[in-house]
């Protein structure tokens, strides 16, 4: 039987294992970004989360994606990374 060679149809990317940063011990004095992805009633849910986090001494910064159907624009991602220690994203309605 002759040797068979196949061409890789995929991305040829080796999976990059990235370790998540450890969780902060507490949120007091830290800035928590809340990202609304523009799904209906996401704001209602995030308002409540903000209230609970503020009670723990966290500063809240609110962000919103233009539409849930597209990834967050690069500028928005950079803004969040610059301003926040922690980010929470509301993924669906």
């Amino acid at each position: 039987m002759s040797e068979t060679v196949l061409l890789d149809p995929g991305s040829e990317r080796d999976p990059v294992q990235r370790e998540p940063r450890g969780l902060p011990a507490d949120l007091a004095g830290r800035t928590v970004g809340l990202l609304d992805i523009s799904k209906p009633r996401g704001d209602v849910f995030l308002d409540e989360i903000a209230r609970l986090l503020e009670a723990q001494g966290a500063a809240i910064a609110r962000f919103k994606k233009p539409t849930f159907t597209r990834p967050a624009p690069t500028g928005l991602r950079q803004e969040i990374a610059e301003q926040c220690d922690v980010v929470l994203e509301g993924l669906a309605d």
């Binding site: 061409l7 149809p9 995929g10 539409t67």
Partner: protein, 477 residues
């Protein structure tokens, strides 16, 4: 020429000219400076005093880049200093310096094609010798490994068997386009991986495409990568939708696509494999797999493949024309589609009642109370299209009338109306709403000659700027 030179002649027993010139080869062999490569096995030509090499593997002929047999190549040392193809007595005499070579032969006979140029053989040789400009990672299988099973194990399949993408098959596939295999078209979501023509060709092989389908597959990938199509969201959504491919224009007929009976069904290779190739590109290059970034609650069978051709109607503008191209241009239109919902009307003989049937069917796309959310395609069958033609209605008139009939009173759409909780907020009850946004309803003709049935194909609940808009690209060779 002559003294000090040596010669290689490439022959094929199956070539009458090669057989004819055997006496001339014998004369040249007597000079002791001849080597013959024969392409179709041992025992030809019968020369006592020359080295005759059995080149049925064609590696020698490939190295010489021979197009025609016989070819006479003249060397000084290692360097080629001249060659002639076929039998042209004067040229052979000049190259060999033998003034009476082939005296008994005619002055001229054309040769035959070299086996290295045989379309069934050339890709194999190209692959064996590292040609074709292929750069994709190669995977060598163990002797007893089954290639189709390997494709499954690697996660390269949509669930059905794929054609193993060997270099030979990919080189053959690439003969379907003039574009450079290394050309990058853009980044495929969700992993945003750059996709080359070569990667598309590999996935087209796996889908079962023929090379002549490749330009259509490339155009479909180009359309999917256009920002307004929103391929990332379409893949990631919990909704049913996936990309539907509609091909409009002369190339669809040339490559044998089906626009007639069972156009939306199985059985036509081009329809089946072009749509599948697009899905495999998203799966394999982009990393879009169900259960991972593809979060579909139910999906739909069209996510294996959903592709058909328009049956361009002489009385109506074609889809290409509707999208700003000419009728002679072949285009691919992508639509974020769910499944097919049939609409039956066997009684209408006038446009108005037929439009009312269509509108009633279109009203329920996604939900009877959902407006301005999904787009829709209406695939009008020939028997339904005839009703409009006999009354002289253009496609634009039909579309316009459908939009009018689908202007719905808000009181029917609010939450609670009809006993259904789903609906608009109560405060919108005194307004009227279009079912589909402007430009959100597209008509094409397709289907068999018998049957007063048309097909409504609803779209993703997120249309237009917040989601996906249909995107049309011209097919380029």
């Amino acid at each position: 020429m002559g003294a000090g030179n040596h010669y290689v002649v490439v022959t094929k027993r199956d070539c009458p000219t090669c057989q004819l010139i055997e006496p001339a080869l014998a004369e040249l062999a007597d000079q002791g400076r001849l080597k013959v490569l024969n392409q179709d096995g041992a025992g030809f030509p019968a020369l006592a005093s020359a080295e005759v090499v059995d080149d049925h593997e064609l590696d020698g002929s490939w190295a010489l880049d021979v197009e025609i047999v016989p070819t006479l190549v003249c060397y000084q040392g290692e360097k080629e200093v001249g060659r002639t193809e076929g039998w042209e007595r004067a040229a052979w005499r000049q190259l060999t310096g033998l003034d009476s070579l082939g005296d008994a032969l005619p002055e001229f006979r054309p040769g035959c094609g070299s086996l290295t140029r045989d379309p069934a053989i050339a890709p194999r040789l190209q692959a064996r010798h590292g040609g074709g400009g292929l750069t994709a990672r190669r995977l060598t299988l163990a002797a007893l490994e089954d290639a189709i099973e390997t494709c499954y194990e690697r996660g390269w399949s949509d669930g059905l068997p794929v054609v193993p993408p060997t270099p030979e098959r990919v080189i053959t596939m690439l003969s379907g386009t003039e574009r450079d295999p290394g050309e990058i078209l853009g980044d495929v979501p969700p992993d945003l991986v750059p996709v080359s023509i070569e990667k598309i060709a590999i996935n087209a092989v796996m889908a079962g495409c023929r090379p002549e389908y490749l330009p259509v597959v490339i155009a479909a990938v180009e359309a999917a990568l256009e920002e307004p199509f929103c391929m990332h969201g379409l893949l990631a959504t919990t909704y049913f939708s996936g990309p539907m491919v509609v091909v409009s224009g002369p190339l669809a007929r040339r490559i044998g696509m089906n626009a007639k009976g069972n156009a939306l069904g199985q059985g036509n290779r081009a329809n089946a494999t072009i749509g599948r190739a697009l899905q495999l590109v998203i799966r394999n290059v982009g990393g879009g797999r169900p259960g991972e970034v593809d979060r579909a609650t139910l999906g739909n069978p069209g996510k294996y493949t959903f592709c058909f051709a328009e049956d361009e109607d002489p009385a109506w503008t074609s889809l290409s024309e509707d999208k700003g191209f000419s009728r002679e241009q072949t285009t691919v239109t992508l639509f974020a589609a769910d499944g097919v919902q049939g609409i039956v009307d066997q009684k209408a003989r006038e446009p108005e009642p037929l439009c009312r049937s269509f509108a009633a069917g279109l009203r329920v796309v996604s939900h009877p109370k959902m407006v301005q959310a999904p787009d829709a395609f209406l695939v009008v069958s020939p028997e339904h299209a005839r009703v409009f033609h006999e009354a002289g209605w253009s496609k634009q008139q039909v579309t316009e009338r459908l939009h009018e009939l689908l202007l719905i009173d808000g009181s029917e759409l609010v939450q609670g109306a009809g006993g259904m909780a789903e609906g608009l907020p109560a405060k919108l009850g005194d307004r009227a709403f279009r079912k589909f946004r402007k430009g959100g309803l597209t008509l094409v003709r397709a289907g068999g000659g018998a049957g007063m049935f048309s097909a409504i194909i609803g779209g993703w609940g997120a249309s237009g700027t917040i989601g996906s808009s249909p995107v049309t690209k011209e097919v380029r060779s």
